[in-house]
Amino acid sequence: MRRCRDISQLVSRSMDEKLGIEDRMAMRLHLLLCRHCTNFARQLGLLGRLAKKFAGSDRGSPPA
């Protein structure tokens, strides 16, 4: 049974590459049961959308 540390890393990797079936199942199962990791996963997705909005928006300037 994999713990939150491993799952949080899988969540991040899943945003960049296709995970193997085993990792994918482990991640999904864990997310069904763990609200902390579910929050983490949801917020990581949001960060990607924020980054796109940030640099080209009329609000922020690109990071230095």
């Binding site: 994999r2 990797r13 960049d16 609200r35 983490f40 960060l47 080209g56 009329d58 300037s61 230095a64």
Partner: protein
């Protein structure tokens, strides 16, 4: 505060008529291009081409804000093109230090690998509405600034420019696992910072 000028200029209806708007926009674009390409000449070229491309359609922009969004979208493509060309040529550019595996001593987790109570990601309220708040973007920028330059650069290459892992590996001479570790560090660090500075601040 580097974004204060941009906000003012873009908020005005006729920002394009403001003589300060374009020079300021240009310097912000250059900052982004330089961060991504790490090559002043290539960065100048990308910004120049983005400007030429966008100004060609200048008539269709009623407001400076729309122009700004458009010119940054073009710039993003130019940067991606330049990085991909580099990838194809396998240009050996910067000898980059390899990031170690920081996850072994990630203090977000206890030795059993569970979230420590103080680091548990909590639920965020109204994550959609905050993007309308200028103060939120200042916090976001400050949180990005807390990451190491390299970590922030990899994050923006992936999330803003939209490069694949293999392309980032080639551009920065990093291994795939090192890029993954860096992305995890960037995302988790940004998340922590936003949670403490915005959602609990």
């Amino acid at each position: 505060m580097p974004d204060a000028i941009g906000v003012d200029a873009a908020a005005s209806e006729d920002a394009l008529d403001n003589p300060r708007f374009l020079p300021q926009l240009r310097s912000q674009m250059l900052k982004l291009a330089l961060l991504q390409l790490n090559d002043p000449e290539a960065a100048e070229d990308a910004v120049q081409e983005a400007f030429v491309g966008a100004l060609r359609n200048r008539a269709s922009f009623a407001r400076g804000a729309a122009f700004r969004t458009w010119v940054f979208a073009i710039l993003r493509n130019k940067i991606a093109d330049a990085l991909r060309a580099r990838y194809r040529r396998r240009e050996r550019e910067i000898a980059a230090p390899v990031d170690g595996d920081a996850e072994a001593d990630d203090d977000r987790f206890n030795p059993a690998g569970e979230w420590r109570p103080s680091h548990r990601p909590s639920r965020w309220s109204d994550p959609a509405g905050m993007t309308e708040d200028a103060q939120f973007w200042r916090v976001f920028e400050a949180c990005l600034g807390r990451l190491s330059g390299r970590t922030a650069r990899v994050f923006m290459m992936r999330e803003y420019i939209g490069l694949e892992i293999a392309e980032i590996c080639a551009a920065l001479e990093m291994t795939a696992s090192s890029v993954s570790v860096t992305l995890f560090r960037a995302r988790a660090g940004l998340r922590d910072c936003l949670e403490s500075q915005w959602f609990k601040g």
